[in-house]
Symmetry: D3
Subunit: 238 residues, 6 copies
């Protein structure tokens, strides 16, 4: 039995509210249960120096967590004067994942920066950031299309992510914090709308895991990501 | 005529939504027009080392702005590896202001940290942070009362803040970004619920200002703060 | 009775020694009683990148305190690896204040950096830095005039500053450290030679203050600043 | 055809030279082809503060690369004043992996720090660090056994790692730099000596990958890790 | 002929003004020609943690240069956020040198920090810092004697320093900036009052130097240091 | 009697293994007894910005020590986020020394960076870095000659270094760690192949030293450096 009473293969309630802030070219507030992430996408007319004149665009991501997004307050990274390893790992993952759904040639020499700021955390913040970040990214790119700057939206593929893991001996989908902190194995899976795998990160937190368990987790994740992609489609069609 | 069409002495629409995040002991989302600040108050059972065994409590504040809270994206302070002078100035002001409404003896040797994170900015973020931060602080302290840890709420006085300035030759209340960026003189005023002055910071941005202008600004601010205190009272009584 | 025996409206003895160092384009050692600040102004032929080709000049300030300028030794900011919030607040205030007396068009695309280094502190270091910094700035600009690089001195208005506060229930002018550490309310006032207000920063340190008290403080400050401007005139005429 | 002429499932020549430095409690120089990593394990009699009195030991890792380990010189991280995200990600992975083979109860309240410094890089440095780091760790723990401080070696399971990927349309084992920089998909796999999976990190670098490709990669990795474990056994038995 | 017209073996005019600041336990303003250094010594009742309970005292030094002490303005180290290699080298040298004249047993478990801040630079700042720093140190220690906290002054030996070098083919004493920037070889020599050598640092800046040249430089330095020690004696006897 | 049983004037066994890494333009692993330093020289086609268009080349050095090169583990400088004063002092010394043997005109506008990384430390690491760094530098320059980019090798003079000191009342050559940690006086001497002195750094660690002792140390060093230069010649002729 999961602490939340959910079925093994059930996602938490998901809501994606677009237009969450007025300045960003694209934005949404994504809620996966009690995990709330504000995602904004900011367009700049040029790419980083090391990429200039390549004809390619660039998508990058930054991730942050408000100090009291968590059960106890964490030190603000700006005050600490540096970004933790965990934050760096997460923002690199988000950036790589979003680029996997982007046609960088069609995008032209532009940069879109996706900021994912966790307002409230209850497990799965990196996955919610990818799923919501994609929506903000698509909206920002669409704004360029609507303005006649691009012919078609270069965000050519949906990208969404979900966590899964082995909790109390069972493979379960979309771990919340109560499960995550007890899980023996924990995996984050990123896939495209057409079912291609972008990232698989499975990690044993106590006991190791077997090929069979990994396969069961990937099955759960595939099904969950299909639902997340449906939610993305619904959000951008509004 | 103000860009927003407001009267000279009119505040923007104000909303204070308490319980905005589930983990913090006290929290609210304050909206002053298009300026939105998420305020959380976190209680710790001990004060900073330099204050131990004084019998006094401590209230401190941190302030941050999401990278795309503004018209164009700002670099994330955590990435830059340091806090700007502006941010430091603001968080010192918020902390000082909130302490002015706190009975530090009644509070006991505890620390409450108030985090004010600007989700969307349209001028007046430091004032909104003080007004909303006070609500989060009061709620966190009240939780200690409700839990029997304190006899009465040590947040003994309301504290609220508003900006005012000289825009297009007129003294006006509660500047939004369009006004702020053009204003000749800009003042931030912090007062208690009983009308005592906590901070007055007036600054000439181009031409200097006269004693008469300063007096007119303080009159506007006093009236505005009375309305903000009423909004605080309404919020904490819900 | 004030610890120093001064009258309520008396400044400390003031001395401004110009030409205090041989390399700087303008310099002075200002002494307000036991507060001693070495001020130097350095001219550069170009403005910061973000201001280029605007036709405007720029005046900026930096502030420092020698580790043992104070009763007990403070950690050197260079060793700590960062500037405290207090220092940042002060140097931003000095820069803003000095720019208020500068004709940035007449100055041309130049930058003058005013360094204010406190050799010995006894309260009121930021105000002494503004008053002395203005002298160094004027001298450096005058050197450009004397060299034929500018037609007339673009430092078009005197700018000076003084602190005042409520000490032992009385409003007093030019607080020394003994008063400052006990004062209930503390204000720093910056004005031009022609009586315009540049900055007013009043702050309650314990009890709040009333409009009447604020007015009394501003009266004291106006009279004090007139004397400081006279001392500046005397110094630059030598 | 692979640039090195190796078969699809062939590891590079592997050599593990134990006792590579005289001061460390355990050490080895591991060579996977032209990738050379010096691994040292340092024992301390106490664990980090946040873990004290838990009865558990701790294994942590740090990773570095000499500036000219690579084709062109990289800036020294100590000079840059911070650790890159890539380095942090790698050292977190090494630490997690090595802990998966450690009986932290049997280890007692001790910390062993494994430093992995890449002297020469030709792809696969993080995997070589895990495989070689395990040898250094085992040797350091064995020294505690030999000294009578521990009854039996708490490094209870072999842990080794290998990379694999899709190069020129083919799944291949143990990518060298020439392959890695061209690979479409890249995976790092960490397993124990008894075949349990510790970490799987698969990442699409261009096209996404399918479940079938992932399975083929995991098959290659399992076979490769078995050979690496054999090399570890041979090294520690000398 | 030297730019200053001095004889080969002539020091610049030296002045040591004690009691230069009112808060420090010991202080002086040393002037070696146009090089002016403010030296303060601060006493603390305890030594650094790594030295506690050794029964020994500790003397340490910090060195700084005001931004406009030099011909052109240098960036403030506090703003740069780190201390340059040059500064670190100098402050380590000053500390080592002053400890060579200290009886650390007689001193007891105290720390004295000597701050040497260059107000105006014209070559030889590190040597002036040592010579002046010693005076501040002795005065601070004497204050402990006068207060009955120590039986006798633990600064048991004079320590003074001078530069010398090969300028225009000649060995000369006490280089000023004009000479220093052209010198082929540059040496800093630190000696005690009784003629023992504490530090010799000779460095070829262009051509190498011979043993004969080194000997000539050491002869010049010995004679110069004797005069500096006489000036120290005169200063502390006032 | 020396701990190692060596004669007063005996160097430790020296080995210089060229071609120690495959990517660097020049490299060697130098062993002075148990002190092992990996030296690499990296060529860049341009000099630092402040030196452009001078027609001169530049040689610079960086120094690092692996965390467990020493008896007990030292904190990694990259983790600490800054370079210690000791490291800065050493890398400045290495750079200065190597430039003394370089014809910067003949070198043309190129930069060669010499990295000296201590794999194992047993005293004398800075001297070994200079001696080995010179070999790496010469090899890298020779590669430019061999490629026809330079007419002749601009590394025109051998440069080598050795430590010496007063141990147990005797002057001895090439101190190992056991001697270094006990030595009363410690000197590092850098000389060219033709016997010119580049740097002399003598430092009293307890008692001061006399001119006679300094002379004896310089005699020892001269003889030792002659042997080191012979070893360099042998290494580059292979």
């Amino acid at each position: 039995m999961r602490p939340s009473g959910r079925a093994r293969d059930a996602l938490r309630p998901i809501s994606i509210e677009t237009g969450a802030t007025k300045h960003a070219e694209g934005s949404c507030l994504i809620r996966m249960g009690d995990t709330h992430v504000l995602c904004t996408a900011s367009v700049e007319g040029r790419t980083p120096p090391w990429m200039r004149n390549s004809g390619l665009g660039w998508v990058t991501a930054e991730y942050g967590m408000l100090p009291r997004a968590t059960h106890t307050r964490n030190r603000r990274e700006a005050s600490a004067g540096k970004i933790t390893g965990r934050t760096q790992e997460i923002q690199r993952l988000i950036g790589r994942s979003l680029r996997a759904g982007t046609d960088r040639v069609a995008m032209g020499e532009r940069q879109i920066t996706v900021d994912c700021d966790v307002l409230q955390a209850d497990g799965g913040t990196r996955c919610a950031s990818i799923t919501g970040g994609w929506v903000a990214l698509w909206l920002a790119a669409q704004k360029l299309v609507d303005a006649g700057e691009l012919k078609e939206n270069p965000i050519s593929e949906h990208v969404a992510a979900v966590s899964c893991g082995v909790y109390a001996g069972q493979t379960v989908l979309d771990l919340d914090y109560a499960e995550d902190s007890e899980a023996g194995t924990d995996a984050n899976v990123v896939m495209t709308g057409s079912g291609g795998m972008v990232e698989v990160q499975g990690s044993a937190e106590g006991a190791t895991f077997s090929r069979d368990e990994l396969n069961a987790l990937l099955d759960l994740a595939s099904a969950g990501i299909a639902q997340l992609v449906a939610a993305q489609k619904e959000a951008i069609s509004r």
